[in-house]
Amino acid sequence: MLSDDIRDPAIRTGTPSTRPGWLTPSWVMDRVGELVLTSKTPLWWWVCLALSFAMLGAFGFILTNIVQQGVGLWAFNIPVIWGVDITNFVFWIGIGHAGTLISAVLLLFRQTWRTSLSRFAESMTLFALAVAGLFPIFHLGRPWLALWLVPYPNTLGLNPQWRSPLVWDVFAISTYLLVSAPFWYMALLPDMAAMRDKAKNPVVRGAFAALCLGWRGDHSHWERYHTASFLLAAIGTPLVISVHSIVGLDFAVSIISGWHQTVFPPYFVAGAVFSGLAMVLVMAVPLRSAFKLQSLITMDHLENAAKLMLVTGLLVGYGYLMEAFAPYYAGHKEEVALFNDRVAGFYAPYFWSMVVANVAFSQLLWFRPVRRNPVLLVLISLVILVGMWLERFVIIVTSLYAHRLTSMWNPSVPGVWDIATIFAPFGLFLTLMFLFIRLLPLLPIHEVQEVIAEGHD
């Protein structure tokens, strides 16, 4: 455990739980509210924000150059026409999935332990989507024409080409954003109203007053709130499956050996949740420690996330197995050749790193002591994040470079711009994240209070 909060009743009693029943609703309000309303901003926050912002600046620089000089700055070639761009896209979309899973799916399944993690994970979803959404635009040769992927009335009388999975992508991502953003914002309403009520600074109060859209905590408000959140959760739940299935179809619809796989949609979903949970852990563990929230984000929360990670990790492993099985079962020569090249060819180090990171490391989560060790969880999660990035890279690049026609074979080795593009997007993500943890309630206060109240029943 990173640090202990002696005021934390859970630690005092030594029986932490995902149902912090011995907490009082007012303690939660004070504890979480204080993080937002305090006038003392910790120095580390400023440092982290500054670093994140610098990375964001670098990201802006990269994208500006890409637009100006062309996507050729990235180490693309014919036939490797995608690389770090689409890898990043799939990676960041995947990161978002944990948030939706925790907030929507677990809400429907009435998993009350989700409450402590939900706000945080949902925010992560939005911010990851913000990052992910940039890549389909900026990977274009002519990004200023991205609008043409959207059906809008135009003088040319042209629609997008509906059979292209890239158009489905536009809808999948925009739907995802359209559902996630209101869901996230709606859950914030009661908390922002509470901040309004507690804030002493008139500016802060005024800001929250405006943001909470006149929430008064009426019975009718709460009734509509619950209906709406269940409705949005019901809409959001299929999105967990559909968005990444469609991202999977981006590849599976093609006729490229290594992409043309029926296992892709479910395998992509599992991978997305897997990487998303890893990102949740990487972010949550330091934060609960920094903000001393161990009593709200408890060891049990972390363990539950780790268990889910283990399950999705196994599904991902199954996906790898199917990728190996399908070509051999079908006996298709080109598919077999591609698989053999993946495991023993130019990119074999990438492939095996991916297998070790995602499959081998996640097996550690079978052990309870590992699952309950926040430091180990963060380390494993980091490895898994790298592994999942590699997974997308391996799928995209190895399938493209090992062209059906051997005359076209041409490996693409990431250059300076590619490597910078791997890291720079974290600038946008972290900047938004740090602004969020300082400016908005980190936990859904009202939901935690509700759980506490129910726990007393």
Binding site: G70, Q161, V167, T406
Partner: protein, 1017 residues
């Protein structure tokens, strides 16, 4: 800042010390300067440094710099004319204004020119006009058709009426249009590399000639191989007028050995002309007659005619080709049996062959070669006496040349598969060689040297010291299109015309003569042709047009010369074709044969002209620099080609830097391992490592001339090679060469094919399951068939496509990344052992699939199917997702990863106005030359008919020397393309994935001798 305040500011700065700030305490009235200034006029020596007008600017010293930089020609004129600056500026202002009036860079010549198809009265804006002319390379002409758009030449194709072309073209012919607009072209007369004028040169030449004795002693003329009857006539006249003057001729890729060989065999220098069509069995002794010899285009056509197997309605036999060669060429790739041998062994092989066939009584030569191969060659030649052919390559020593002629004579082939023509043009006097000239220069005998074309300072053998000797000549002038290595060492340089800009005449490999007619006048004022330079030497003031006409008027014996001339210009051929002579083999041949010269010591070196740059003259041509070598697939470089075994022995790999020590000189270059290369042989391509006059080609590759000697220009032994430990990066466009994954090239022996005509389906799991019925194409249904059995891998299609479709070059670093932009590429596969693999070529354009995977995945409908079956790119609609390229199983789509458009103004002139130039971020690919289809459709519609078969031909098909690429309407039952697609060996590339390509291939067939047929053993 306004102009006035600017002037003030300058004024203050100019005054320096006396200006105590400006503005408040030292106000200037705007008119103050003006008033102060004008009454006194310009004061060059005064303290004033500001200027407000061109007049004042003329006073500035900086002005001269500026003038030199921006208007070099005018600067020179200013110096020569002694005009005062003010007058000069007035003139210049007027000339700048006039530039606006003339506008276009191209203008027609003043003389009457005759277009190939339409007469000038029919100039229709937007419709190209073609002119017949001829391009000479290495002293041999090939007929061309120059396509012009509103007077601007944009494209060169072969002239169908010219025997050396038959409508086909090669890479240098296609790329020669870029030479016309090459920004590197020299446009100024230079004296010791300083700007000068034509008038100044003329005066200097007159003075130099006047200083010589009347008999011309001390005057020397150095030419390339002269193949212009008019130029020969002028040389004759010069030598007659000045009997002590001397003429030298040097061609770095020359035919001296061939002439020496015929001299030995027949007693006089004759040029052999082969009749491939009559040959059943061909044995090549390091002769690349398919792509690397004068007449290759015709030889390739005739060769292909004998290999085209058509089970339905055609021949079912093939000729048989044996290739003995050191380094792989297209002849080796097309051969039914190939024997890699070191050069020294080839000479022995030729002697042994001659002996086995009963010619040349010398001692039995024993070599290290496969006896079965040798015996089969002997038996096959004997069996096909009269219908066989032995060809010795340009570089083979005279003895081998003579033996090849002797074998042909012995077998009764002379007159049937090989005929002889007098070496043309009949030389006025035998020219001296380059070493002779060096000797004369060193002895001080040469007082004035006129070099007409060529770049001998770069191409001369390293051991004769040409460049040093040249520097000693007091007056030397180099006529050259580029200010190159030779120009730098001459006292004068005169820019040379491009063949598109000059009047001349030129002889082809078989003696056919063409008039070189210019569809445009020279782009630059000071350029001169060799004929014009000779006229100057002769004091002939007539134009080259008149001089050329005079040559032909003199030989014409009819009564309507105008008509004759008109016909000649129109057809591109003048007079009768070449005249062939009886060649009788010398009786005492074995006595006349030189002894074996080459000994196998150390590594053997082979010098060969580069497939693209030839002798280096095209080193400034970015198209040819980027064009991948058809065999090695190297782009933007030459390399030290060695065999896999030799690489193993030397401990080097691809891109390892090695040092070659040969004949006392050293050279460094990167290694490229070449399968099929003979062991212990290093092959060096000439033409690279240029130092001057070729800005894009300077520093590209290494200069193999640096170790080439005059005695052994083609082969040498005793070389040592050691790895330096360094690495030099090379760019290649094909990284794997195995073809077993999905059999892109299907191969069978002729015999197997006869047994099993549908063999192409054997290895393919073919099934047709379609959810939807086929689209009914009611009008046209375009399709293409490519016969791999006749594709000789010459690259002509690749570069023809590049010129036609405005395809950019991307540079070495982008090629290394794999971003070359070719719409049609030439894949090269190997099968069998790396020591001597079977080589297959496969041109791959867009397949225009019926169920195109690219169309399915484009999100914006930027690639769609036309009602005539074309898979079309809509550039304006493309947003650049590149998914179409990923989903293309043939890898034919090309993406503008960066801005590849070259904006050099003069290079805009070469662009085809019918094809749009693509911007950054856009996908592009082969369009089946849709612009040509549209043009034909418009023409047909106007006449109320359908497009005829053959009326539309894409650029690749037109250029193809072997007619391997056939395009047409698949709805036309009798179309040529349908007759190919009906053949049993027709197959779709990766047809099993049901893309239903419209471009299909005809399988590669081989015709092995049964004694050597490996498929049977």
């Amino acid at each position: 800042m306004t102009n006035d305040s600017m002037a003030r500011h300058h004024h203050d700065l100019g005054h320096g010390q006396d200006a105590h700030g400006h503005g408040h305490d030292h106000p200037h009235h705007p008119d103050h300067d003006h008033h102060h200034h004008h009454p006194h006029g310009p004061q060059p020596s005064g303290p004033r440094k500001q200027w407000r007008s061109l007049e004042e600017m003329a006073l500035e010293e900086r002005f001269e710099e500026l003038l030199r930089r921006d208007y070099p020609k005018q600067a020179a004129a200013l110096e020569q004319s002694g005009l005062d600056r003010r007058t000069f500026l007035k003139l210049m202002g007027a000339s700048l204004a006039l530039t606006g009036l003339t506008g276009c860079a191209t203008r027609p010549p003043t003389e009457p020119i005759i277009p190939y198809v339409r007469t000038p009265e029919e100039v229709i804006p937007g419709r190209p006009i073609y002119f017949a002319s001829a391009m000479s390379l290495g002293g041999f002409a090939t007929g061309v058709l120059i396509e012009t758009h509103e007077g601007r030449p944009t494209r060169i194709d072969g002239n169908p009426r010219h025997p050396a072309s038959l409508g086909a073209s090669d890479v240098t012919m296609q790329a020669s249009i870029l030479e016309l607009y090459n920004p590197d072209r020299s446009i100024d007369v230079r004296n010791n590399d300083n700007l000068a004028t034509w008038e100044a040169f003329r005066d200097a030449l007159d003075a130099a000639l006047a200083a010589l004795p009347a008999d011309g002693a001390g005057l020397a003329v150095l030419t390339e191989r002269v193949n212009s009857p008019t130029l020969a006539r002028q040389l004759d006249a010069l030598l007659a007028a000045r009997p002590a003057a001397t003429w030298y001729q040097y061609e770095p890729v020359g035919d001296e050995a061939i002439l020496a060989g015929t001299s030995i065999a027949f007693g006089e220098p004759l040029t052999p002309v082969y009749r491939m069509a009559a040959a059943d069995v061909i044995v090549s002794l390091d002769a690349d007659f398919l792509t690397g010899m004068p007449g290759s285009l015709r030889y390739a056509r005739e060769f292909a005619d004998r290999r085209r197997v058509r089970m339905i309605g055609g021949q079912t036999t093939m000729n048989r080709l044996y290739a003995v060669e050191s380094t792989p060429t297209s002849v080796g790739a097309m051969a039914d049996h190939r024997l890699p041998l070191a050069p020294s062994q080839i000479e022995l092989f030729a002697r042994a062959l001659a002996q086995a066939l009963g010619v040349g009584a010398g001692a039995a030569a024993v070599g290290l070669w496969d006896a079965a191969f040798f015996n089969t060659v002997v038996a096959d030649l004997q069996e096909h006496s009269g219908n066989s052919l032995v060809i010795a390559g340009r570089g083979q020593p005279p003895a081998v040349q003579a033996l090849a002629h002797a074998i042909n004579a012995k077998l009764g082939n002379v007159g049937r598969t090989v005929v002889y023509t007098r070496s043309f043009p009949a030389a006025p006097a035998n020219p001296g060689s380059l070493p002779d000239l060096v000797q004369a220069m060193n002895s001080g005998a040469v007082r004035a040297l006129v070099i007409l074309g060529g770049n001998p300072a770069y191409t001369a053998p390293a051991d004769i010291g040409f460049a040093t000797a040249l520097s000693q000549v007091p007056f030397s002038v180099h006529l050259s299109p580029y200010n190159d290595e030779t120009s730098a060492r001459c006292t004068w340089h005169v820019p040379q015309t491009h063949y598109i800009e000059e009047w001349s005449d030129a002889v082809a490999y078989d003696g056919t003569v063409s008039i070189v007619q210019p569809p445009i006048g020279p782009l630059y004022a000071d350029v001169r042709s060799p004929i014009e330079m000779m006229a100057l030497l002769l004091g002939d003031t007539r134009s080259s047009y008149e001089i050329v006409r005079e040559t032909w008027q003199a030989t014409y014996d009819g009564d309507n010369f105008e008509n004759y001339w008109h016909q000649a210009l129109h057809n591109g051929v003048i007079g009768n074709a070449g005249v062939f002579v009886e060649a009788t083999l010398r009786d005492d041949l074995s006595a006349a044969l030189p002894p074996v010269t080459m000994t196998a010591a150390g590594l053997e070196v082979v010098f060969q002209p580069d497939a693209n740059l030839f002798d280096g003259r095209f080193a400034g041509n970015s198209w040819l620099l980027e064009l991948p070598n058809p065999i090695s697939k190297l782009s933007w470089d030459n390399a030290v080609l060695i065999s896999p075994n030799t690489a193993l022995q030397l401990g080097v790999q691809n891109e390892s830097e090695v040092e070659i020590i040969y004949a006392g000189r050293t050279l460094r270059g990167p290694v490229w391992i070449q399968p099929g290369q003979a062991d212990n042989v290093i092959t060096l391509n000439l033409g690279y490592g240029r130092e001057r006059g070729a800005s894009v080609g300077q520093g590209v590759g290494f200069n193999a001339y640096a170790i080439r000697t005059a005695i052994a220009p083609w082969y040498g032994s005793g070389a040592q090679v050691r790895a330096t430990g360094g690495t030099l990066q090379l760019a290649t466009t094909q990284r794997r060469y195995d073809a077993e994954l999905n059999y892109p090239v299907r191969v069978a022996t002729l015999e197997k094919f006869m047994e099993r005509p549908n063999f192409v389906d054997d290895k393919v799991h073919r099934q047709e399951i379609m959810l939807f019925p086929d689209f009914p194409y009611e009008d046209y249904k375009w399709g293409m068939a490519i016969d791999l059995n006749t594709c000789v891998g010459c690259n002509a299609c690749v570069i023809a496509c590049q010129t036609e479709n405005n395809i950019p070059t991307v540079g070495k670093s982008q090629v290394r990344l794999g971003r070359e932009m070719y719409w049609i590429r030439l894949d090269r596969y190997y099968e069998g052992s790396l020591e001597n693999p079977q080589t297959y070529f496969q041109p791959v354009p867009c397949m225009h699939c019926e169920t195109a995977p690219c169309e399915l995945v484009c999100p914006v409908q930027a690639t769609v199917h036309s009602s005539e079956g074309l898979n079309q790119m809509v550039y304006n609609r493309c947003v650049g997702t590149r998914y179409c390229s990923a989903n293309c199983p043939y890898g034919v789509r090309r993406f503008n990863f960066m801005d590849y458009i070259d904006t050099t103004p003069i290079l805009q002139e070469v662009r085809n106005p019918d094809v749009s130039v693509r911007a950054q971020g856009i996908m592009e690919k082969c369009s089946f030359c849709v612009q040509r289809i549209s043009a034909a459709r418009i023409a047909a519609k106007k006449e109320g008919r359908r497009i005829q078969d053959g009326e539309v031909q894409p650029a690749c098909a037109v250029a193809c020397p072997t007619q391997a690429i056939v395009f047409g309407d698949m709805n036309d039952r009798n179309s040529w393309v349908n007759s190919l697609k009906a053949q049993p060996q027709n197959y779709a590339l990766m047809g099993d994935i049901q893309t239903k390509p419209r471009t299909t291939y005809l399988a590669r067939l081989t015709n092995p001798h049964e004694a050597l047929d490996q498929s049977k053993s």
